[in-house]
């Protein structure tokens, strides 16, 4: 009876844990989204609130200057057009900034995900100077590689190495045991092909390493 009691207790505990964690999961997602929104909200505020307000106020002023002072009117309208154009380029930069993948932020996110998953992250202390295209490409390698480590590897550590011509993500997990490639690895292979580089997956029961190399111009 004691045995059964303890076992049931532990199972109930597992259920409870599961429940708690599902709740926590939801909360985390909501909070993360809220934090991100807050950040973007502030950016928006700073970038656009001022500009659009200035445009509206200047337009009202301009309307009142019609027929009264053409020179002042011209100045207001020119400034207003300039502000609109400047804001437009700010919006473009911000909007694409929200969509873009870059190595630096991906590494930071990767560390956080790995730590949260109980995998020790070993990542480069400093990053090479990379063009936008390469930074994006390497960012995708990190994102997919680390997602796979967290999902499939059952690893205790994950080592990311990088120089200006290549990047690798290695873990000490169980290695690839499944049937083969899903869309994650296939996608990376396609990206590297398109960039004229190479992509390699090495896997043993001691762990997995993926390596992306840029094409060498010989």
């Amino acid at each position: 009876a004691a045995t059964i009691g303890i076992t049931i207790g532990a199972t109930l505990e597992a259920q409870h844990t599961r429940r708690q964690l599902e709740l926590a999961e939801e909360r985390t997602a909501v909070l993360a989204v809220a934090a991100e929104r807050e950040r973007i909200g502030r950016d928006l505020h700073d970038i656009l609130g001022h500009s659009l307000t200035t445009i509206a106020v200047k337009a009202d002023l301009a309307e009142r200057l019609i027929g009264r002072d053409d020179d002042a009117l011209r100045t207001e309208i020119r400034q207003l057009a300039e502000i609109a154009r400047q804001s437009l380029s700010d919006v473009r930069a911000t909007a694409s900034g929200m969509r873009e993948v870059r190595l630096g932020p991906e590494l930071a996110a990767a560390r956080a995900v790995l730590l949260a998953a109980g995998v020790a992250p070993i990542t480069p202390r400093s990053l090479p100077q990379l063009g936008d295209d390469t930074s994006e490409l390497f960012g995708y390698v990190v994102r997919e590689g680390v997602t796979n480590v967290v999902r499939h590897a059952d690893a205790t550590r994950c080592v990311i190495e990088c120089d200006s011509s290549g990047i690798s993500v290695a873990d000490d997990g169980v290695g690839i045991t499944g049937p083969g490639e899903g869309s994650g690895i296939a996608g990376l292979r396609t990206r590297l092909d398109a960039a004229g580089g190479t992509f390699e997956v090495e896997s043993t029961p001691q762990g997995t390493r993926i390596t992306a190399r840029l094409g060498t111009t010989p």
Partner: protein
């Protein structure tokens, strides 16, 4: 004549507002300020009928967090000056703080010129003006992503 001081750190907006209000026959902008301390000094120097007050402004060494914090000081030092708070975005708590501090008006900065002018006249007559949509945003009680940390 209704006399006005404009406290607003963004020079383009401040200048446009001043020029625009001065075009009205019954309004006169008698001073401008770009931070909280200057706002207080300018009000004390000229005791205007109306202070148009920005919320997010540098303190100018006064040791306040934002424009709303000088509303009670203005009310105390120049009781005849009525305060209209102007802001770009409503944030939770702004409206309550503004009204508790003794402001008479709460408007978005891009309030159309004729409504702003009308609002100034109403406040000068002792009435209160509150932009309803801004009020809704500033009062939202739920967790707002823009609420201060």
């Amino acid at each position: 004549m209704i006399t006005i001081v404009i406290a607003e750190d963004q020079a383009l907006i401040r200048a446009a507002l001043a020029t625009m209000l001065n075009l009205e026959d019954d309004l006169e902008v008698i001073g401008q300020a770009a931070d909280c301390r200057a706002a207080l000094d300018t009000v004390l120097a000229g005791t205007p009928d109306i202070l148009l007050l920005d919320v997010q402004m540098p303190d100018g060494g006064l040791g306040v967090d934002d424009g709303l914090e000088i509303v009670p000081m203005v009310r105390e030092a120049a009781p005849s000056t009525r305060v209209i708070v102007l802001t770009t975005f409503g944030r939770p708590g702004y409206l309550r703080r503004a009204l508790e501090a003794g402001a008479s008006g709460f408007l978005v900065k891009d309030t159309p010129a004729n409504r702003l002018v009308e609002g100034i006249r109403r406040v000068a007559r002792g009435l209160r003006v509150v932009d309803p949509e801004l009020a809704a945003a500033s009062l939202s009680l739920g967790v707002s992503p823009l609420s201060p940390k």
